[in-house]
Structure formats: structure tokens, C-alpha cells
């Protein structure tokens, strides 16, 4: 009986093991500059097309853009409490690795801050031109756990006149807009192969341009009818501020 007991004990021990689990990666980064401070390193109206970002600069922000519907193309916008910044990327399908709400640390080593059509952005430099971060090098500059989270509260816009530089590259909600030719036009007709601009008329009669790429999945959908709220990324341009929707779920209706 004693021998039988020993057999049983050992066999039971063999069956009760818990398999190992590797620990998760941790991000041991700390931001040493706010996004507003980073933006202040470069002025659009100076003679330089870009400025080198100081060595060792680390910023941190929450992802606000999404290229899932392909309307935020080859860039990532992140924002903290002080502002938003655009990071130029070389590849697409960024939403898989940097979902909306994910916290991202950016090591800006070797990066520059400049602008494109008056919209500030940070990028790599190649032959004196600002270029996107290739997918293979993303892990050298961008650090995130890739977990979606709550997006920042969008900044409310009720008039074109309230927009200043602090709104650009941020998540905004333009409230009470009525689309010009809503229900009649699409976001971007088939005849256009690049992008299309539509006009949002705010309640104070000012207008803001809604920009949609031809490649966007919702390009052929009809513009909304009646007053609604549009949430998206506000980008500056030579012709003024442009709102980019991430998807049609960014539209909420507030009645006709």
C-alpha cells in the first residue's frame, strides 16, 4: 500500500503544473517635453523648412487618428493636454498597431519638426526632405502597448473664427454643422481620384472645409442631411483648416 501511495502522489504532482507565462513588455519611457513645447521649436513663417529636434527629446500623447477607413493617410496624430502633433509615417494600417486611445511615447532622436502646407509635423529626414517612419523602424521611435483606450475629449468648435494654431492636429468636434448639398453629394465622387473638399456651414454662418480622400471607404456615401456634429482631426493647410473624419461613426446627429 505504501508503494502504491507513492506512485499516486508523484503522478498527481505531475498533473498539477501551471505553464509559464512570459511577462509583458513594459515601456520605461518618460516624456521630457510637452507637445506644445515641441511645436514651439519651429515657426512656420521662418526661412527653414524644418528644425532638428534636440537629442533625447521624448514626447507622449494619445492616438487620435485612425486610418482604418483610409481617410487619415500615412500619418499618426497624437495629443496631450497641451496640444496635438502629426507624425509622418511611411506605411498604412497604422490603426492595427496604434489604435485610437493608445498611449504612445515618441523618441524624437534623428527627427525633425517642420510643416507641410502650413500644418506642423514631425518626420525623419532623407536627402533634406521630410519622410515618413518606415514600418521596419517604427519600434525605434514609437513605443506603445498598442491597447486602444478612451480618446481625448474632443475640443468643441462652434465657429470658424475660434480656431487658432492650438487646434491643429487635435481631435475636434465641430458642432451644429449643415453640409452644403447634404443628401445630394457624396463625400468624394468617383470621378475624383485624389481628394474632395465639402463645406460645413456652422450656425454662425462661417464654414469649415471637410476633406475626404477618394480612397476612403466612405467616400461614396451621401453627405448627412440636417444639422449634425462632426468629430475628426483638424489639419491646417494653405487654404485654411481642414477636418478629416476617421469614419462615419464620427458623425452624430442633432436634428434637422
Amino acid at each position: 500500500m505504501k508503494i502504491n501511495s507513492i506512485y499516486l502522489t508523484i503522478l498527481i504532482s505531475a498533473c498539477q503544473r501551471e505553464e509559464d507565462i512570459p511577462p509583458a513588455l513594459t515601456i520605461d519611457k518618460e516624456a521630457n517635453m510637452t507637445i506644445a513645447e515641441l511645436l514651439s521649436l519651429y515657426e512656420i513663417n521662418n526661412s527653414l523648412s524644418y528644425s532638428q529636434i534636440p537629442e533625447g527629446t521624448v514626447i507622449c500623447g494619445t492616438v487620435t487618428s485612425s486610418d482604418k477607413e483610409q481617410n487619415c493617410y500615412k500619418y499618426l496624430t497624437i495629443q496631450d493636454e497641451t496640444g496635438g502633433i502629426m507624425i509622418v509615417m511611411k506605411n498604412t494600417e497604422l490603426y492595427e498597431r496604434y489604435p485610437v486611445g493608445a498611449k504612445v511615447f515618441v523618441e524624437c532622436e534623428d527627427m525633425v519638426i517642420g510643416h507641410k502646407y502650413k500644418n506642423k509635423q514631425i518626420a525623419l529626414l532623407d536627402n533634406d526632405a521630410m519622410v515618413g517612419i518606415p514600418k521596419s523602424d517604427e519600434n525605434l521611435y514609437l513605443f506603445t502597448d498598442g491597447k486602444a483606450g478612451p480618446e481625448p475629449e474632443p475640443r468643441i468648435i462652434t465657429s470658424r473664427n475660434q480656431i487658432d494654431s492650438t487646434y491643429f492636429n487635435c481631435l475636434v468636434r465641430v458642432e451644429g454643422v449643415r453640409m452644403q448639398n447634404g443628401g445630394g453629394d457624396t463625400y468624394c465622387p468617383d470621378t475624383i481620384t485624389t481628394y474632395c473638399s465639402r463645406y460645413m456651414m456652422l450656425e454662425d454662418s462661417t464654414t469649415i472645409t471637410l476633406r475626404t480622400y477618394a480612397r476612403a471607404f466612405f467616400a461614396n456615401e451621401l453627405l448627412p442631411i440636417g444639422r449634425c456634429n462632426m468629430t475628426g482631426i483638424l489639419i491646417n493647410s494653405n487654404s485654411g483648416p481642414l477636418l478629416y473624419l476617421r469614419s462615419l461613426e464620427d458623425i452624430s446627429y442633432s436634428g434637422k
Binding site: Y7, I10, A14, R17, E18, D20, P22, A24, T144, D145
Partner: protein, 412 residues
């Protein structure tokens, strides 16, 4: 030469901007025009000498039988390189240092005869084993450099058996335990995280095999015998070994500023692959005069996938939550379903004066079961970008269908 006049032995992936000599597999004959019969790529020899001394003491008494054995081994190993690959030029040619590995072992066993039908046996063994030559060098093709922290493997084994021998039944039931420590494993493969081929060494691997075995023969009349045998085992890794990784080309940095990555493998309590850990056979044997016919049904189970150790690291897990489906797809070790086969054999021998002539014919896998998976392994490829354990699925190796084995034997 495939129609070519000569071959230039160069690594076309070498970083010649950094150093043009990196591209040559043999920098002492850098631009040599190699033709049929010339050596290219690598040329080396592994010199292995081993001396072994053992002593065994046997004793047998009426109720007791024992053995004690001791052994000592000295192994000498060195590499001789005959080519200087540019990437390893300072350590490629000539003789490496000599790797000396003294090892020793002891074993003992006792068999106690309770009576003429029943015996209890217990055996034990402890030994150290030199690492195999293939696991001694970081890159034996091109370099004389040894793997860091080379150690002899330490094995401890014990088994306890009960043997029963009656006319109506013969049976052996055993419990076994084997513990392996400081096993070294070495591979070369393409590592997706570093974007290149790597030299990969696991050191300090500990494993444990425990199990029970049962075998019995039950005669039915004078000509038939029922044969049954089975094993239930549990073979697992018992610790977290260390992986050391360097670029296969000898010079690339794996991460900025870092030419060697060392990290822990979190695979404790995962199963060791390589053999079914449950195996059973049941069969019928017919023996009459010099004819013998056997039919066996076999069952195999607890076949686990050979692990890609790099999946059991924080780099593979990323930031995935514990218990998430995505993490389970990475670290969940596949276990194959149980599988059956059917075998048969026939043999006959003739005595010709003092000589014996015989034949045997075996048919394995009579049912032609080609879905029988004999082994499965996790690929070394892995999608680190998305931490997706399904991007590079496991590879499966299948049994041959029905196989015939015919043999003739003549003894004199």
C-alpha cells in the same frame, strides 16, 4: 557549374559599405575563380577525441542481484578552420582553443527476488555528459569562438520495477524518473525581430521525464499469446533557460549598439517534444514450430509541438493581456489528438544442420493512415509586429502510408 565558367565565393548580403572584406568567405583567396572541385563557402574540421574508463561490479546471490558501475570520460574538442570568412576573420582560420570536458558517472541497481515468480528492481544513475560538438561553437561553419557558459549536462535517473513471471502471465511494471540539467541547444535560423539569420544558443536547459510503463504477455493455449504494453509519461521543461543570440554574419548589431542579446525563456512546465508521451500496443502473437505471426494495434497520444523558444519571451508577448486569446495563440503549446495504427508481421526460420535460414515480413500501418502526424513543431518565424501567433502556423510531419519491410537472415 550550371553552365558558368567559375564561381566567386562572396556573401552578396554583406555590408560592403562598412567594410568590403565582409563579403568574402575566404579573404585569403578573395577574388579566386572557383571551378568544379574547389571548396567554397566554408571549410573546417572538428577534431574530437574521447577517452573512456569504466568499471562494473556484479554480484548475484540467491535472492539478490546487484550491479555497481563507475565511468570517467575525458573529451577533447577543437576546430580547425581552413578558410577565413571576412566577417569572422580574426577567429576563423587555424586551430581554436581546445575544449576539455571531463565527465564522470555512477550507476547502481538491485534486483530482489521475492520468490521464483516475483522480483523487485531498483536502479539509479548519475552522470555528466559533454556537450555535443555541434553545440560547442557559436558558428562552427565560420568561427572558432566557443559558446559562453559551456557546461556538461548532468543526468540523474532512477527506475523502480516489479517483475512477475508465471505460466499464466508475465508482467513488468515500472516507474521511471529522469532529470536532465544544463542541457545546451544550438540553432541557426531567421529571426524576425532582428531581421536576419542568427546564431542561437540555449544554455541551462533543465528537463524532467517521469512515467510508468507496463508490459504483459498472457499465453492462450500453446500457440497464442496476448501482448500488451503501454507507457504513460510526462516530459517537461523544469526551468527558464537563457538564450544568447548573435547575428549569423558575425558583425551586425541586433539592436542599436548591441551585438548580442541575452534573455530568459519562460517555458517552465511546458512539454518536451520528440516522442509520444503516451504509447500503447495490444496484439496477438501466433507461434507454431518456427512460424511466428503477430498483429498489433498501437495507440499514440500526448504528442506535443516542439517549441519555438522565442515565443516564450516578453518580445513575443508584447503588451497582450494575460488570458487573452491572442496571447494563448502565442504560448499555447499544441498537443496532437491520439492516433491509431495497425501493424502485422510474419516470420519463419529453418534449421539447416547447424545453420539457420529465415525470413520476416512486416507491414506497418496496414490501414494506410496518412493522416497520422508523427511530429509537429512551432516555426522559428514569428510576427512580432502584431504579436500574432497564427501568422506562421505550426509545421506537421506525417507518417508514411502502408510500409513493407522484408528481411532474409542466415546465421552460421
Amino acid at each position: 557549374m550550371l553552365g558558368g565558367e567559375y564561381w566567386l565565393s562572396k556573401d552578396k548580403y554583406a555590408d560592403t559599405l562598412a567594410d568590403p572584406m565582409l563579403q568574402y568567405y575566404d579573404i585569403d583567396n578573395a577574388e579566386a575563380h572557383l571551378v568544379e572541385g574547389d571548396k567554397c563557402g566554408y571549410d573546417y574540421a572538428l577534431n574530437i577525441f574521447r577517452e573512456n574508463l569504466w568499471v562494473t561490479l556484479l554480484g548475484e546471490y540467491e535472492h539478490l542481484r546487484f550491479h555497481i558501475g563507475l565511468n570517467g570520460t575525458m573529451s577533447e574538442l577543437w576546430r580547425t578552420g581552413f578558410m577565413r570568412y571576412g566577417a569572422y576573420r580574426d577567429e576563423a582560420a587555424g586551430n581554436s582553443e581546445m575544449f576539455l570536458s571531463p565527465n564522470y558517472g555512477a550507476k547502481a541497481g538491485i534486483a530482489y527476488k521475492i520468490d521464483k515468480h516475483n522480483t523487485l528492481e531498483i536502479n539509479g544513475q548519475w552522470q555528466t555528459v559533454a556537450p555535443v560538438a555541434a553545440n560547442v561553437f557559436v558558428n562552427a561553419l565560420y568561427s572558432n569562438r566557443f559558446i559562453n557558459n559551456l557546461k556538461s549536462e548532468k543526468d540523474l535517473a532512477a527506475d523502480f520495477s516489479y517483475v512477475m513471471n508465471y505460466k499464466f502471465m508475465r508482467m513488468r511494471a515500472s516507474f521511471y524518473f529522469i532529470n536532465f540539467q544544463d542541457v545546451t541547444e544550438h540553432y541557426n535560423f531567421y529571426h524576425d525581430l532582428y531581421g536576419g539569420f542568427v546564431n542561437y544558443t540555449l544554455t541551462g536547459v533543465n528537463k524532467q521525464n517521469i512515467g510508468v510503463e507496463l508490459g504483459m504477455e498472457i499465453p492462450i493455449g500453446k500457440m497464442f499469446t496476448i501482448i500488451m504494453a503501454g507507457n504513460w509519461g510526462d516530459f517537461v521543461y523544469t526551468n527558464r533557460p537563457t538564450a544568447s543570440i548573435t547575428a549569423n554574419n558575425g558583425y551586425s548589431e541586433l539592436t542599436p549598439g548591441c551585438k548580442e542579446v541575452v534573455h530568459t525563456i519562460y517555458w517552465q512546465n511546458y512539454h518536451v517534444a520528440g516522442t509520444p508521451q503516451i504509447a500503447a500496443t495490444a496484439g496477438l502473437k501466433f507461434k507454431h514450430k518456427d512460424w511466428e505471426v503477430k498483429v498489433n494495434a498501437n495507440y499514440f497520444d500526448k504528442i506535443y509541438a516542439a517549441l519555438n523558444s522565442e515565443r516564450y519571451t516578453p518580445d513575443a508577448r508584447g503588451y497582450l493581456d494575460e488570458g487573452s486569446d491572442q496571447l494563448n495563440a502565442i504560448i499555447g503549446q499544441e498537443r496532437l489528438k491520439g492516433q491509431f495504427t495497425l501493424d502485422a508481421s510474419i516470420s519463419k526460420s529453418w534449421k539447416i544442420k547447424k545453420h539457420t535460414l529465415g525470413f520476416s515480413l512486416k507491414v506497418i500501418n496496414i490501414t494506410n493512415n496518412k493522416n497520422l502526424v508523427t511530429s509537429v513543431n512551432e516555426q522559428h518565424r514569428f510576427n512580432y509586429m502584431n504579436h500574432d501567433g497564427t501568422s506562421f502556423p505550426n509545421k506537421y510531419y506525417y507518417a508514411l502510408g502502408t510500409t513493407f519491410n522484408f528481411g532474409l537472415n542466415y546465421s552460421f
